[in-house]
Assembly symmetry: D2
């Protein structure tokens, strides 16, 4: 069996190493999740079970890849930020995106029943993935700000849209019509005057999305003492302003 005669085909594989000293983001995105969420009776505008399943899947990814220093999720997407100096998979772009994407998907299906105990997915859900590089600290902060601003804009819209449908009895087409061209202030006003909803008092997880970071936490020892252990914690806070970054200033310094 002349194996060697065929081995030349390996030369057709291409190198795809990421530029050194740059932040590597792998973002996974649900494929066709508008349809998927409808078919699986996701609650509107937000389904807490679905969000906690997303967070669970993201935790699995972050536990596996120690070089992910921060993850940010909202809706059906999650961004994983590898530290600038990571050498995981020799920084090969496709290795990073497919491994993260596969593990995220796998965990999503695997942990489904813990979050949706009464049903099984109707078919295997899919997430796509991409690798993007950001050279500077400002760039990676702006990337995360972009995603959090997107979260805010979509969630304010969806909260108003579904209030109009579920509470005011509008059809989706009527609700869309009503919101066309409205600014943030308009939507806040509709929520408050028509539904007595103060948008700023909505749960932070919905308004801000979920940030995963590693935190040193004290662990009680049998002898009564404590030791520190690194643990992944969830936060739902603003990451656009400086406060988060001042409190987590290790994130943007070379470790």
């Amino acid at each position: 069996m002349a194996k060697s005669k065929f081995e030349y085909v390996r030369l057709f594989e291409t190198e795809d190493r990421c530029l050194p000293n740059s932040w590597i983001v792998v973002r996974v995105d649900g494929k066709g999740f508008h349809k998927f969420s409808t078919e699986h009776d996701y609650e509107k505008p937000n389904d807490l079970r679905a969000l906690s399943l997303m967070n669970n899947a993201a935790m699995s990814v972050m536990e596996e890849f120690k070089d992910i220093c921060l993850a940010y999720g909202q809706s059906d997407e999650y961004s994983f930020v590898f530290r600038k100096e990571t050498q995981v998979y020799s920084r090969r772009s496709a290795k990073l995106s497919t491994n993260v994407c596969s593990l995220f998907t796998s965990a999503f299906v695997y942990y489904w029943s813990e979050h949706f105990p009464t049903s099984k997915p109707l078919y295997p859900p899919v997430f796509d993935g991409r690798t993007v590089l950001y050279p500077s600290n400002q760039n990676i902060r702006d990337y995360l700000s972009w995603r959090q601003a997107d979260c805010h804009i979509n969630n304010l819209y969806n909260t108003t849209f579904w209030a109009l449908i579920l509470k005011a009895g509008l059809t989706p087409v009527e609700a869309e019509q009503k919101l066309k061209g409205t600014l943030s202030g308009d939507k806040n006003e509709i929520l408050f005057s028509q539904f007595s909803i103060n948008y700023n008092k909505e749960p932070e997880m919905l308004r801000k999305g979920t940030i995963l970071v590693r935190r040193k936490v004290p662990i009680a020892l049998p002898d009564g003492g404590t030791r520190e252990k690194s643990q992944i914690v969830q936060q739902h806070t603003d990451i656009i302003g400086d406060e988060f970054w001042n409190e987590n200033n290790h994130l943007l310094t070379i470790s």
Copy 2:
């Protein structure tokens, strides 16, 4: 909320369109499946449940992507061949590899219980993925021959290795020692003389792997007539020689 101010970060995403008029292969590979197979009590040298689960996951991928004209699987890997002219995802490399890889993984977990009814995976299994281009028909045939030759070499080794352990009582180290430096003929001889196994009579799925192709099959109509329908069929035949390609000559001609 100044969304626009952050949107510039999209410019950091790169184009990765595959060269036109070239075969696109996406190969998925189990991550750490040596360990995974041990932890999940895969039968040795081959676990038919695991192979049928792999084939099931591959069928899901091929049903979703109509432009995959052939898939080839063996052990914990599967290669998906997109036809040369495909425009799926504008031929973007990362889109193709992450979507195929995510769906394969998802289906693998989703259909697990149909093939392993008595147990659940201990943790979410992972597959990585890569996209490789092959310009000519000879190149894509050689790629597939490479994978099938690999299947043959590994399966002959594993069959002998595990016969020595399970039937002759050798330890893994002893079995490895005994096989060191042996040629195919030697292993065939060990199997036959020591275990009365004629390797060439072993199941073809194990010796050849699994080929998935689309086939027109006749469907009975209520009125007693028939019509043709495209269906994915499994084969376990040689794809190194010309016979398979002569019988499936539509595969290598532009459709």
Copy 3:
């Protein structure tokens, strides 16, 4: 002098090997040659000195790179076709484009005075370069057809345009206006009826561009015998139809 401390910066260089088994074309294009040709009093519509200088520069490139099997030039551009199997510079894209581009430029300046004996260039002329891959024989033929069709279209236009200006006394704006929306037949008709020019009798170098190929030519030996030697020859013939390729069928077969 701690050299080693800085050497890590080499890791920032990226691999750019071309896909194997594909035609590699390097095309060089004059930068700002509309202006350059005016400033250097190129004759209109075609300056035979400029074209022979272009051909001279291209010959230099082809003499240096034995793996260029064909070159095609017209106007201020030249395409160099490396054979599919070439391993020059390990098929690195930037190495190929910059070396070809630099040598072409260098020869253009170096041989200038042989073609323009009475003047020196006013400033250093520049050509840019690019590397493009074509997987199949049909693709590379279509690429060359594209360039030759471009040559035809531009030359027919320019011939008519400059006849209107130089022989009929129109201004450039008037000539442009007159040709707006005309088809090939219209331009042929203008040339014939107004200027008694039968376009098809114009020199082939202008209508077809220049093809450079290697040809075995007999060399007379001192003893009265002959031996064959490979030599680069210029042709000005159609490369869109099959005839050229039938006569040069070695070009498209693996050597």
Copy 4:
């Protein structure tokens, strides 16, 4: 003439935009200049005419590309640093490398006679080019330090090597033998004790290479006043330490 039928071949060209917000370096390197310098009787260890011709060619490049903020040259190579934010040629890698490389080559031939008045090059000289990205200020400084350290190491070696040949009458093989395994201190010692050469007093252009930067210089006006004008100036100073960067701190800040 069916042009459109062939135009599809343009789709085979690939995108190669450089990551935004990163320093872009284009380095040109003489091809076969060891041989070229011998054939053209370059003085050893350094030929001032050749170095001034290199600088002249680099000035031409820097005058053309306003977004080159610094250039560094030594021996037969020159590095051009584009500012991080440049949008020249939409940051397309091949466009940048081929244009810079072509102009550098063109100017080298064009201005040859101004530096070597009594001879013509024996054949067209060639430079290759490459584009490399550096994300951070530290990276770009380290890149330039790498090249200047290289200049130092090579020039110290060459100065000693040629002193041994030209002044002590050794053959090249003997000189090489004598220097094998020597450290910088050893070479300084040989130069001083054997040839009374204090290496640190050698011309800075030879020891440090040439830095080109833009400087605002006062221009006298007819009315007796002055105005500032940006001009390219040559320096031969250390760029490894902080001093140069402190004096030119505009280089590393966003303009």
